[in-house]
């Protein structure tokens, strides 16, 4: 059948989006799907000794679900998941809460120093996580910490930033410092996107700024909160560089304190790529399930069902 112009244009229309998506699809396949597939393949393999003797050679072979069983029954891995959740309970609400507070304050009429504060609070986002952790390490350790210095001047006892439960707060503080500005900007810009007419009536009715914030603004920025919350959850479960950088400075952070440290340990220190891959698959599935649950829960509540 000869192609009519209309048919050709339909064909063109069908092909166009795929052409635009091609670079992304190719790169995604090469650098994510294939490596992920390879990692899954590795998760069923492990090293076993061949050749006998004290210096027999390690050879990779199929080990079935061994690596998954090891990961799921490893008390350190499971404890790491617990620690990450505990840390998340401290970090996520404080990051989101303060980000929301700062955003609302920035959005308050006639507030001073708005530009300065916005830039200053956002600035730490540009500091790499490893360097942020190193510098907070200096600020936490008793001999180099200005906070402990002040405490000594006031004859207070030494401050232990790495004890229990203070360690969780110390780590959450680093996340707060690095992340509050980014989240604040997202919430703030979504506040700016609300037309002022929405508040006018409330103001005329004599509502205070606090009431406006609580009753009108917060419900309207709920989608932004859900989004930032979701990415905070994903980021939290992938917590790595802060505890890994602080570990050598403290006696309370173990080599396998959080799941990713355990995964790094297996992959890079113990040359156990299979075990690392299995633990990663478990973690990624956990993140996926948690994200979907959160999204489903909040989407229904905040957006109705149009999302």
């Amino acid at each position: 059948m000869p192609a009519t112009p209309a048919r050709r244009s339909r064909l063109r229309a069908a092909a166009t989006p795929w052409l635009f998506a091609t670079p992304a699809i190719v790169l995604f396949t090469l650098f994510l799907i294939i490596p992920i597939g390879y990692a899954i393949y590795l998760s069923f393999r492990g090293f076993r000794i061949e050749g006998g003797g004290a210096f027999g050679r390690r050879v990779q072979s199929f080990v079935g679900l061994d690596n998954y069983l090891t990961a799921l029954t490893d008390p350190e891995y499971v404890a790491g998941l617990g620690r990450v959740l505990l840390y998340g309970l401290v970090a996520i609400p404080s990051v989101l809460g303060l980000a929301l507070l700062f955003a609302l304050l920035l959005d308050t009429p006639r507030v001073r120093a708005r530009g300065f504060a916005r830039t200053a609070i956002f600035l730490p986002y540009a500091v790499p996580g490893v360097i942020a952790s190193l510098l907070w390490g200096f600020l936490y350790l008793p001999s180099t910490s200005p906070i402990s210095y002040l405490a000594r001047q006031l004859h207070a006892g030494p401050l232990d930033f790495f004890g229990f439960p203070t360690l969780y707060f110390s780590l959450a503080n680093i996340a707060l410092w690095s992340g509050v500005g980014f989240n604040m900007i997202i919430i703030f810009t979504s506040l700016r996107a609300i037309p002022t007419s929405v508040y006018e009536a409330a103001r005329i009715d004599g509502a205070s700024e606090l009431q406006i914030a609580w009753r009108i603004k917060i419900p309207l920025v709920a989608p932004a909160l859900v989004l930032t919350g979701l990415f905070s959850v994903i980021g939290t479960l992938q917590l790595y560089s802060e505890p890994a950088t602080l570990r050598p400075m403290s006696t309370t952070i173990s080599f396998t304190w959080v799941p990713l440290m355990k995964i790094y340990q297996e992959a890079f220190m113990n040359d156990n790529l299979g075990g690392a891959a299995a633990a990663s698959v478990v973690l990624a599935l956990g993140i996926l399930v948690l994200s979907l649950l959160l999204l489903r829960f909040f989407q229904r509540r905040t957006f109705g069902d149009d999302a």
Binding site: Y38, R48, G51, R57, Q60, S254, D271
Partner: protein, 451 residues
């Protein structure tokens, strides 16, 4: 060129190469245009022709003019060889990068590893047996040092630097607090007590649980071998009675708060060393340079003495730290690589050159040269520093064998010992748990472990 004694070459892993081939096809399709950009290291054959050696090391820093001078010297002697230095990390990072590079067939030609990391890469098949290549330079290094890189009678690396164990301490402050320099560990405990009593903010030393190697050396000094083998089976002695006695010793000091539970070389440790709150470090002859790098102002107040003994009159100690140069199994220039490692570690010129880099040479000529060398910058006043360390080397008669799974012990031991020190629970239990973890891991990998 391949000696008949080589262990069987590593089996090909069909799965891996199949996957790699599939990936290769996928990639070449899209990357053909750019893949010509840079081929992996120069590929001339071993005989004749110029050769570039890729060397992963932290001893020779490409950025250090002194290291450059050493390399220039080698270039003069071997105009066909170009040595290219790179610093990729410490033992753990270098080993993990080497294992990845080995899987990819993209290895350098020489890698530096501390002795404790060598068995793991040998059993992974990632480094070459260079017994034949270094046969000619055997005389340049003492047998007890070659033992650090020799397994099953095969040599897998050329020792470069060594760590004769010494106690480095604040001479001025030991005097001030009236503490005697300890010659036995019992005296060490007494000195610790005396110092801490005189000033409760001051400690004789920090207790750093992460220093697995130090505790292994302690146990070795007391007569225990954490890893040993008879060529067929492994024996793990972490929970042997001699080893547990050293655990008791440190538990006692920690419980009486006579040592400060604090990791080494953190900003906190550095500050405490600077302010005279930590007075000593039981380590090796490389320690003075490390202390100098964090506390240069304290130079002239330190001295080094032989390590305290468990049994009075028995000066035998093992080495602590130090490193060797190894040749990766997939190096394309193994012969030249082994020759370079041998020159730097075992030749007169090479081992003397190490001294110019503030490295304690393992080669005989270098060791001889230390005797007329200025003491380290930390103790310019201690003129007999190198006489002391040379005597220590003569007393270093305890061989330490490391196992193929030191990393497993490292994490299990360090974490548990930290927890025990904080919670004041049994150190013995930590040693016993580490023993179990190490044995279980060896067995899981398929090694035979004897009781």
């Amino acid at each position: 060129m391949t000696p008949p004694t080589l262990p069987p070459p590593r089996r090909r892993r069909p799965g891996t190469s199949l996957a790699a081939a599939a990936l290769a096809v996928a990639l070449t399709a899209s990357l053909a245009a750019c893949s010509s950009a840079e081929a992996p290291s120069s590929g001339t054959a071993s005989d004749g022709g110029p050769v570039t050696l890729q060397v992963w090391t932290w001893n020779l820093k490409g950025t250090d003019p002194r290291a450059k001078a050493v390399i220039d010297k080698y270039h003069q002697l071997h105009p066909d060889v170009t040595v290219k230095l790179a610093e990729v990390g410490g033992t753990a990072e270098t080993a993990s990068k080497l294992l990845a590079a080995d899987k990819a067939g993209d290895t350098p030609d020489v890698v530096q590893l501390e002795y404790r990391g060598v068995p793991a890469v040998v059993t992974a098949g990632a480094v070459k047996d260079i017994t034949a290549d270094v046969a000619g330079v055997k005389a340049g290094i003492e047998p007890n040092i070659w033992a650090l890189t020799t397994f099953d009678g095969q040599v897998y690396g050329v020792p470069q630097d060594i760590g004769p164990m010494v106690l480095t301490y604040r001479k001025d402050l030991f005097d001030k607090y009236g503490a005697k320099v300890p010659t036995t560990w019992a005296e060490y405990a007494k000195a610790a007590e005396q110092i801490h009593k005189k000033d409760p903010s001051v400690y004789i030393a920090s207790f750093s649980a992460a220093q697995l190697e130090f505790f292994a050396a302690q146990a070795a000094q007391a007569g225990a071998q954490w890893w040993s083998n008879d060529g067929k089976t492994w024996k793990v002695g972490i929970d042997s009675e001699a080893s547990l006695k050293t655990a008791d010793f440190w538990q006692d000091l920690v419980e009486r708060d006579l040592v400060k539970v604090e990791p080494l070389l953190t900003p906190e440790w550095n500050a405490q060393v600077n302010s005279g709150k930590l007075l000593s470090w039981a380590a090796a002859a490389w320690a003075p340079n490390v202390i100098y790098s964090v506390a240069p102002d304290t130079a002239g107040t330190w001295e080094s003495a032989p390590l305290p003994q468990w049994t009075p009159g028995d000066p035998a100690v093992p080495f602590l730290g130090g490193s060797a140069f190894l040749v990766p199994a997939k190096s394309k220039h193994a012969k030249e690589a082994a020759a370079f490692a041998a020159w730097l570690g075992a030749s007169d010129e090479g081992s003397k050159a190490q001294l110019s880099l503030d490295i304690y040479p393992g080669g005989n000529a270098g060791r001889q040269a230390t005797l007329t060398h200025e003491p380290p910058r930390l103790m310019p006043q201690q003129k007999d520093f190198y006489q002391v360390t040379d005597q220590v080397i003569k007393n270093t008669t305890i061989p330490v064998t490391w196992g193929p799974n030191v990393n497993v012990a490292q994490t299990a031991f360090g974490d548990a010992l930290n927890a025990a020190a904080l919670n004041k629970t049994s150190f013995r239990a930590v040693y016993q748990a580490t023993q179990q973890a190490v044995v279980a891991d060896l067995q899981k990998s398929g090694y035979t472990v004897s009781k």
